[in-house]
Symmetry: C2
Subunit: 335 residues, 2 copies
C-alpha cells in the first residue's frame, strides 16, 4: 500500500492503532488526550500541559519565493493555532530546521527573525531545537501550552469529540483570504487587494483570544481551519460521531476576494481553501453569544450539528440543496 493511497488521515489512524495496541497503559497514565486532536494533553499537578507540532516543507507547504521571515512567522503561527484550537495559552517552542548545506546562512537568520516576531507577539519562548542537514529545506516546530483542570481533574480544553447534536457551529473572522492570496500569487496578480490577500496567506494570526473566550463561555469543542473548513469540520463530525450542516449563505467570506475572483471561486476558497487559521467553535447559542462578546473578533454562526454519523459535513444552498465542491480540502499525502 502506498502512502498516497491511504492519505494523511488514514495513515494517522493506522499509526495510532500501532501505538495503542503495543504501548503499556502505565506509560500513558498521564496522557489525558493523545493522537487525533489539535494538541496532546498531559496531566500536571496543577493544570494540563498542551503539546503540538507542525512542519512546513519547501515546495510542499510554501513557495521557494516566499520571504524567509514569513516562513518563520507562519511556521510558529500554524502551531499557535493548534494551541488556540484547544483553548490554551502558548508557552515555549522547540525549532528544528532541516537544510541543504549550500544554503545561505542569511536565509536561516531571516527565518529566525520572523519566528521571533511571532514568538514576541504571542508571548512564546524559543527554548531550543535542532539543526540537521537535509536534501529538502524544512522547519518543524513543537510548541507547548497550558490549560486549567476542572474540579474533577479533567482538562478545560476544546476537543474535536466535544460536540453534541443540535449544537450550533460558528467560525471566527473571515474565510478564504489565505487561499485567495496564494491564488493571486500564482496568477501573478498585483495591487492593494492582492497585497491584502497575500498578507492573509503569509502572515496569518492565531485566534488565541477567541479560544480562551470559548473556554470561559463553557464551549468544549473546536478545531482550527488549517486544511479547509469542510474537511476540518469533518474531523469534528468523525470524532463526535455526528453530522454537520453548514449554510453557504452564512459563511463569513473575506470581502476582498470578490474583487478578484468569481462567486464560485470565492465559495471554494472559503469552504475548502485552508490556512486561514480561524477557529470553528461548536456550542449552545448562548455560549457562542458569550464568547462573541469576549473574544475581540467576529464570530459568525454558520450551521449546526445533526444526530447522524453518516451525514458527514455538508454545505447547503438557500433552497436546502447540497453544494458540491471540487475538492474537500488539503491532504498533502495523496498523489
Amino acid at each position: 500500500v502506498k502512502v498516497s493511497d491511504l492519505g494523511e488521515f488514514g495513515l494517522i489512524q493506522r499509526l495510532s492503532e500501532i501505538v495503542a495496541g503495543r504501548l503499556p497503559t502505565e506509560a500513558q497514565a498521564d496522557l489525558l488526550l493523545g493522537i487525533g486532536d489539535d494538541a496532546a494533553v498531559w496531566r500536571l499537578s496543577d493544570g494540563a500541559l498542551l503539546a503540538t507540532t507542525d512542519t512546513l516543507v519547501e515546495d510542499v507547504h510554501f513557495l521557494p519565493s516566499t520571504p524567509w521571515q514569513d516562513v518563520g512567522w507562519k511556521a510558529l503561527v500554524a502551531n499557535l493555532s493548534d494551541i488556540a484550537a484547544m483553548g490554551g495559552a502558548p508557552e515555549f517552542a522547540l525549532v528544528t530546521i532541516g537544510l541543504p548545506h549550500d544554503r545561505q546562512v542569511e536565509a536561516v537568520d531571516e527565518l529566525y527573525v520572523g519566528l521571533t516576531e511571532a514568538a514576541g507577539a504571542y508571548g512564546v519562548a524559543i527554548a531550543g531545537g535542532d539543526i540537521v542537514r537535509s536534501p529538502a529545506f524544512f522547519v518543524s516546530i513543537a510548541l507547548t501550552g497550558r490549560a486549567a483542570l476542572d474540579a474533577s481533574g479533567q482538562p478545560l480544553v476544546l476537543r474535536r469529540d466535544g460536540a453534541s447534536a443540535g449544537e450550533v457551529i460558528a467560525v471566527t473572522g473571515a474565510l478564504g483570504g489565505a487561499a485567495g492570496g496564494l491564488r493571486a500569487l500564482q496568477g501573478g496578480l498585483d495591487g492593494d487587494t492582492t497585497r491584502l490577500l497575500v498578507k492573509r496567506h503569509r502572515r496569518p494570526q492565531p485566534r488565541l483570544e477567541a479560544g480562551r473566550a470559548a473556554i470561559a463561555a463553557g464551549i468544549r469543542c473546536a478545531i482550527d481551519v488549517s486544511d479547509g473548513l469542510m474537511q476540518d469540520l469533518g474531523h469534528v463530525c468523525q470524532a463526535s460521531r455526528l453530522g454537520a450542516t453548514v449554510y453557504r449563505d452564512n459563511l463569513p467570506v473575506e470581502p476582498a476576494l470578490a474583487e478578484l475572483f468569481t462567486a464560485e471561486e470565492v465559495l471554494a476558497m472559503a469552504a475548502t481553501g485552508g490556512e486561514d487559521y480561524e477557529l470553528v467553535l461548536v456550542g449552545a447559542p448562548e455560549q457562542l453569544e458569550r464568547a462573541r462578546s469576549e473574544s475581540g473578533v467576529p464570530i459568525t454562526t454558520i450551521g449546526e450539528m445533526v444526530d447522524d454519523a453518516d451525514h458527514g459535513a455538508r454545505l447547503l444552498d438557500e433552497s436546502g440543496r447540497e453544494v458540491s465542491l471540487a475538492v474537500a480540502g488539503w491532504d498533502h499525502l495523496r498523489a
Copy 2:
C-alpha cells in the same frame, strides 16, 4: 555566508543571538535553561519540565538499507539520551514524519513498531505528532521529561556549564561500538562480531539510570556522546569556560572492535565516532564513586577538567603527548 562554512555549532550560536536580542524577557520568564544544552528546562510549580528534539534524515543520519524498526528505535533513543544527559525521566513524545508520497505504508508501520518498542522499554507515551509530504524521508521527535527543583527553585539537572576545574571526567559503558558497526556495514563485513557492533549502531541504549544516579550522587555536569567524545566534551569545555585532559589509555573501548580494526582505527572510533549515546559525567571523585555504585553500568574515569579556557579538550598518550585525531567529530552541516 554558506551554511557549510559556519557549521552546525556556529549556526546555533548565531540563531541563539537573534532570539536573545529580540524576544522580550517576559516571554522567557519560566525558561530556566534555553538554547545550548542537551534539553531545555522550563519551570513548573512542582518541578522542571525538560524538552528536547532530534531528527534523523534518510541518507544523512541513516542508510536507506537500515531496517525501519531500527530507524524508529534510534530516533526515540537519540532523544531519550538527551533527557538522560540532563539526569531527567522521560515522559511523552511528539513524532513528525516527512515522507515522499510514493513510499510504502508498511515502512512507516515498521518505523512505528520500533518507536513503540523503545517507548515501551523506557516508559514513554506517544502523545501525537504530524505527518507531512517531503521530498526527503525524515523522522523528527520532540520529547519531554521531568526533573526536580531544589529548595531554592533551581532545577536538579546535569548542565554543560556545570563543570569546575579539577573535577574528574568519566564516561559510562564502552565507546566506539556504534562507529565500528557503521564501518563494518559499509565494508560489507559479516559474522558475530559484526552483528554485535551493528547492534550498537542500530539499537543504542540511553543511559537514563546513570543520569539519575549522577543527580542523586550530587553531580551537576554531563553531556551525551552523540557527535563524538572529544567534540562533545569540547561543548562542556566551552560552556564551562575550562579545558579538559583525557588519557588515551583510560578510554573504555568496545572490546569487539579489536577483532576487526587496527589500534589506530579503534582509537578514532572511541574518541570521535559518536552515536554511542554514553554519558560523559564531570564531578568530584567521591561523587563519581557514588554514581558508579548506583547506576548499574560501568563508569570509567578518563581525565580531568583544567583551569584554562584556551586548552580545549585534549587527548594525551602515556607519555603526556597530545594524540592528533583525523577528525574532531560530526558536524553534519559542514561540506
